[in-house]
Symmetry: C2
Subunit: 422 residues, 2 copies
């Protein structure tokens, strides 16, 4: 057993023990503990900012880019926002204990399906230290123990945040091991977490949630032996049907691409019905709004000044003010394009024709499909789910925004009066 394996085995054993206690805590206890954790974060503002300064100094010395430094940086306002986030989670409805369904069998056996926590959740994330607080709060509110593995560049910040968090939680009867921070920056610890299925010493991690860039998510998905909730790409499409209202199409396409270009719900490819009479105005509008539009051969005839899209463009998540655009043969052409190039994240249709829209909504196999709305609504908050731990594009367990309910499972409870199968 390597050091990393032994370390993760210890963490999982402690986490499992904490999870057993957490699973039975009343909502009020978890909420009080999270409010106390929020207070502790506020009280530790100076210590957290000081710890963050150490990380920032090291990162600057190591030559990290400005964008990465900004993600890493904490000031008083950011610490207070983090505390607010934790307090907000305390106010969300507790999914644990909810009755999913109940059936009474002919023999009198009453069967209830009840929501219960998943158990032990591993969060693997990068430079944003606020994930330490956000993810821990969500996991704990849903009754799970969490093992946090942040980026090595944020280790001092994460330690300070974690210490405050745990002091608050523990003051209200939540086990201290409910939220554990992997104490080392050894990358082998990540590998050990990804294979912690309980078969080789220690207990199992029931679910891994990676939070970070594509490199991290790809590594987690490739190496994990335990279930992962995540999305790798958000290659999202807006299809503008021939029946679309031109003003609505213009507004939705612009918002979907440009409101924020770096979010996973941003549009990357614009699909335009060959029968849409305002195709040129749509492309021109997007281009004039500051987006580099990479066009197919048909559009290039009208827009010789625009970049021609290469084959790779249809499979590219730009996360920037760039979009690919192509004419398609109606809704079926759009569905076929998305089936080939989509990433099962979020796709939208703009159309006045309800029959066409229903066809798109039924046949596009994505976690989120939208009619006459911007893809940028792909967000747990916008869905009214409260904070989200991420967006999942897999097909099992939870799809789309993963919030508190996605961090639970269920058990069957049978109430008998002596029934035997006989």
């Amino acid at each position: 057993m390597t050091d990393a394996t032994a370390l993760v085995a210890d963490l999982t054993r402690s986490a499992r023990a904490a999870a057993r206690t957490l699973a039975t805590l009343p909502t009020a206890t978890k909420a009080s503990a999270l409010h106390a954790a929020a207070d502790a974060l506020r009280a530790a503002e100076a210590a957290i900012v000081a710890a963050n300064a150490v990380d920032l100094d090291k990162a600057t010395a190591a030559g990290l880019s400005g964008a990465l430094l900004d993600r890493l940086r904490l000031d008083g306002a950011r610490v207070r926002a983090m505390a607010e986030g934790v307090a907000a989670v305390a106010g969300l409805p507790d999914p644990v204990g909810a009755l999913i369904d109940e059936r009474v069998r002919p023999n009198g056996l009453v069967l209830r399906r009840i929501r219960v926590p998943i158990g032990v959740i591993g969060i693997i994330y990068e430079s944003r230290p606020n994930v330490t607080a956000d993810a821990a709060a969500l996991a704990v509110m849903a009754g799970n123990a969490v093992i946090l593995r942040g980026g090595s560049e944020a280790i001092e910040s994460n330690r300070a945040i974690h210490a405050a968090l745990v002091s608050g939680l523990a003051a209200h009867g939540v086990p201290a091991d409910a939220a554990q921070l992997v104490p080392t920056t050894d990358r082998a610890a990540v590998g050990a977490m990804l294979v912690a299925d309980g078969s080789g010493g220690g207990d199992a991690i029931d679910l891994i949630v990676p939070r970070g860039g594509k490199g991290l998510v790809a590594r987690v998905q490739a190496e994990a032996r335990v279930p992962v909730l995540a999305h790798l790409d958000g290659i999202n499409h807006v299809y503008v049907d021939g029946s679309a209202d031109p003003a609505m199409a213009q507004a939705i396409v612009r918002d979907a691409k440009l409101r924020r270009t770096g979010v996973c719900g941003a549009m990357e490819t614009l699909l335009i019905d060959r029968d849409y009479p305002q195709a040129a105005a749509l492309v021109a509008g997007l281009s004039e709004a500051g987006c580099e539009v990479r066009v197919d051969a048909a559009l290039a005839r009208h827009f010789p000044e625009l970049t021609r899209a290469s084959d790779a463009d249809w499979d590219t998540e730009y996360l920037d003010a760039i979009a690919s655009a192509t004419l398609v043969d109606g809704v079926d052409g759009a569905i076929a394009h998305i089936a080939r190039h989509g990433s099962h994240h979020t796709d939208a249709i703009v159309a006045a024709d309800a029959t066409v829209a229903d066809r798109f909504l039924a046949q596009v196999d994505s976690a989120i499909v939208l009619w006459n709305a911007s893809t940028q609504f792909a967000d747990g908050g916008e869905f009214g789910l409260g904070a989200e731990i991420g967006i999942a594009t897999g097909r099992l367990h939870a799809r789309g925004p993963v919030a508190l309910e996605g961090l639970t499972t269920y058990k069957w409870i049978g109430y008998g009066t002596g029934q035997v199968r006989g």
Copy 2:
């Protein structure tokens, strides 16, 4: 790319195309097609029995045991029962299209969560050829394409069953590739299915369901890169509390162990409260009913003639008329024993005291927990779910009996009127 990888890549591509059609078929079409498949099975009775005779001859020549030969054997009655099973699935409520929940956002966006098929499901099974029909029927009714990989000893039987099945399905507009049988007995095909995550040519298998003995399930769980729904062990406990009614305890324990000893819901370990005054009568009753009871040190003092349980007994699934038995310190002792030795399948408490029972039901972390009922109710049919494809002991997606609903997932559909996030 090996031959097996190329073969599975072809199968997954065909399956994905079929799944796209299946996902949008109305319930009536799927039901008619399954009824036609049942009729085709009945019509092919002679051909199926003849194909089975070829398998049986080979198996006999290869020296297969009587129990294995019996699992493999098909006669007219078994073929007709298989057809009945397929027809019964056609009558189950279709989970696809069901509205899970709906919310209207303050901006007017209407968000619906709708049940949809998972997509492509792989079934890996052993000698029972009826799984070919049972599993295909369930998968197709839930709108999924299925790739079937049966045991090599049943290949001729499976081919005959599969041919009948597909002829029936295809006559009613279900794509022929909705149910594909892996045409080779090459074991490498199983390995290729287990890693078919879409990353290396071909499309993804979204879910694997292994049906068979522990060796098969263990291999699938160890090697799979795609999600697996299964249980490895059913180390199920009955805990008899001090407050239990002795007649009820006796009846439940006997049924849980002995009704059928080879099913995954059978009790393997009996936990008796030290304060239960009828412990001796309970053990004696089970023993007299024909069960070998392996006892702990305390019970051995009263039953010197019984086998002493070794450490390994507490972790053993006998699937036979054998049980281990130990005294425990009340419900907390039972909960601790199950936490250490259980397999998260099915555990029961016999108790008159509701507070004690609630503690057990809340703290035992198993897919199914029962109060005053036999563990042998762990069965989709007994739960009123219709036929089951298996029982799952993992924590994600589906737990306990996996029936039609467990073979679906959901998507979010948003209905807007031009909403942008702005």
